[in-house]
């Protein structure tokens, strides 16, 4: 799946990085906890979040993320979008809630980033 496919599935609007929609995405993570994101996510992962502050961008920068999805129609300020563009991020916003956005992406074949912890879902 690439970012354009995600845009279609989520009826999303592209806020920046229009020219990078061909970028492939391999896994996804949905969280508002930046420490969880820092612990588990890698650069092939798209982050779905409801947080639209500067720390989401800094976290994305630390991890070299390629794409952020803001749920529930959230739109960050222009300064954040400018910075996101400089970082080479694609930022999209979907009218769907985080739950529904994840469901739609899962249905379309995208899976969660593999996470290891003692009771991890790999055992499901």
């Amino acid at each position: 799946m690439n970012i354009q496919d995600m845009v279609n599935v989520l009826h999303a609007k592209v806020l920046c990085g229009q020219e990078r929609l061909e970028t492939k995405v391999y896994t996804a993570c949905c969280s508002d906890l930046m420490s969880d994101v820092l612990a588990f996510v890698n650069e092939k992962t798209v982050l779905i979040t409801g947080l639209t502050n500067a720390h989401v961008l800094r976290t994305a920068d630390m991890l070299d993320l390629k794409c952020l999805v803001f749920a529930r129609g959230k739109i960050p300020g222009d300064d954040l979008l400018e910075q996101a563009d400089e970082q080479g991020l694609v930022v999209i916003t979907t009218p769907a809630t985080a739950f529904t956005a994840c469901g739609l992406l899962y249905e379309a074949g995208l899976r969660g980033v593999p996470i290891e912890w003692p009771e991890s879902e790999a055992r499901l």
């Binding site: 906890l33 420490s35 969880d36 820092l38 612990a39 947080l51 502050n53 800094r58 991890l63 070299d64």
Partner: protein
């Protein structure tokens, strides 16, 4: 030290949420310029961001320093207090005393110290209530 390739110090203020993360972004940029591998770069970046945020969220202010030698990247965080009363508890995943402000920004999951330990090849934490906390992390380059 004579074989030091890079040394930098970043003062970090308590509760300065606006600048929080800038030191780590600069550290990452510098290491990238030095040609540090993507794997090490990523681990340093994650640990550095967590330790920098801890200085902002939990400490009375301190200094984050970076030292690169041919064999390793070293990160040292040294603060002026208040110190950690129970280190075992602090190291536990999920334990957090973070403020509402920190939580509203996406921090306070109690994963920071475990994240640092997991990402660094060498990890050492020393803390004394009333004096402060020092965390040293090493990332091997070879």
């Amino acid at each position: 030290m004579s074989n030091t390739l890079l040394h930098a110090e970043y003062p970090v203020e308590a509760e300065d949420y606006t600048c929080a993360g800038e030191a780590s972004a600069d550290i990452k940029r510098k290491l990238k310029q030095l040609g540090v591998s993507a794997n090490v770069l990523r681990r340093v970046a994650v640990a550095s961001y967590e330790v920098e945020l801890n200085l902002v969220i939990h400490s009375d202010g301190g200094v984050l320093s970076l030292e690169v030698t041919p064999d390793r990247v070293r990160l040292i965080s040294k603060d002026r207090g208040p110190g950690i009363p129970d280190l075992d508890l602090a190291m536990r995943e999920g334990w957090s005393t973070a403020s509402e402000t920190a939580r509203s920004l996406g921090f306070g999951a109690g994963m920071g110290l475990p994240n640092m330990k997991r990402n660094a090849d060498e990890f050492d934490i020393k803390s004394k209530v009333g004096e402060g906390t020092t965390i040293q992390m090493g990332f091997l380059l070879t």
